[in-house]
């Protein structure tokens, strides 16, 4: 009698949460990357929601189709969304090369991981160059943190008949929010590229081959996709809405 009771107590439970194993079945670093990204999602959403609140309460706003209508270096006017469309395409494309690197990592194919990682890095650098062009273009028009274009240029970004004081107020808000939010996102892209380079070097010198798993590629992949995810929202709320 007593022995059976003891056996029941001593029986090792094997459910996910009864200890001795990872209930989420992910490695610690990967889970922590997820929680970091969660906190980063909150940061970006506070930025975007305060942008939304300011814009919603403003009587007028610079029309995106008028502010972003140039393809720097090629077309000066009349091409709304074309340049940002290219930027979006580049970032989605580099996200795809990142998943392909992760997929190659699962097959322990070092050579393929390296090539897809290099593709991802090139995509990130292309995106950063595009953003630098975009910023330079807006800066040449007179936008910067705390700076707005002269009244004549500013007139072009609004529908007819809006008083200058209102134009000046919302242009200031637009400039500050645009450079802060795209700058914060661009900084994420920049750090993502740096991390990708570090990981690629590690792949090249065989660190993960020795370790037997390309899990680190997966972790930076999560970060990189997050950057893409944020861009999807920035794109919608700055360029489309």
């Amino acid at each position: 009698m007593s022995t059976t009771a003891a056996q029941q107590i001593d029986e090792i439970k094997t459910t996910p949460w009864s200890g001795g194993r990872s209930p989420f079945n992910v490695e610690y670093g990967k889970m922590m990357m997820w929680f970091f990204l969660l906190s980063d999602a909150f940061t970006f959403s506070t930025l975007l929601i305060s942008y939304g609140a300011l814009r919603f309460s403003a009587p007028v706003w610079p029309a995106p189709s008028l502010v972003f209508q140039s393809f720097p270096g090629l077309i000066e006017h009349g091409a709304p969304l074309v340049f940002v469309g290219l930027m979006t395409f580049i970032l989605i494309m580099s996200s795809v090369t990142m998943v392909l690197a992760v997929e190659a990592g699962h097959r322990n194919s070092k050579k393929e991981v390296v090539w897809w990682m290099i593709g991802t890095i090139i995509g990130g650098l292309m995106f950063l160059s595009c953003q630098a062009l975009e910023w330079t273009h807006l800066h040449s028009e007179g936008f910067w943190w705390g700076h707005i274009p002269d009244p004549k240029t500013m007139q072009e970004f609004f529908k007819e008949g809006i008083p200058l004081t209102q134009q000046a107020m919302t242009s200031h808000q637009f400039a500050n929010l645009f450079f802060t939010i795209t700058g914060f996102h661009g900084f994420h892209v920049f750090s993502g590229v740096i991390i990708n380079i570090i990981i690629t070097v590690n792949v090249l010198i065989g660190t993960y081959q020795k370790r037997g798993s390309y899990l680190m590629v997966e972790k930076v992949g999560l970060y990189w996709h997050f950057v893409d995810l944020v861009w999807v929202f920035v794109f919608t709320f700055f360029y489309l809405v």
Partner: protein
Amino acid sequence: MSAETTEVHGHEGEHEEHEGMTKRRIWNVFFILLGITCVEFIIALWLAPTLHWPSHFVNPAYIILTLFKAYFIVAFFMHLKFEKVGLALAIIVPILFIIGLILVLTNESHYWIGLR
């Protein structure tokens, strides 16, 4: 660390966890994302200006399409669909707090309109 890593993966998850993304699926998701973006462009450049769709109709459409894109990126590219349900919930449920912030600040910005 390397020992732990291989152990966690070797336990049971190896094929179960990695079966998620094949090359074909990756490209499928890519074309879905590209397609949704193209739809957004078509709305912004042709449909809205020519058919004079009002912004209170177009903007929700953009937001819904954006949320679709977000779903595909998180579920497939970030692999969350193939993780344990517990992990997915631990990431997604806190995101719901953002809805609260949106409601609060929308309400607040209504009040700001009155102040201006």
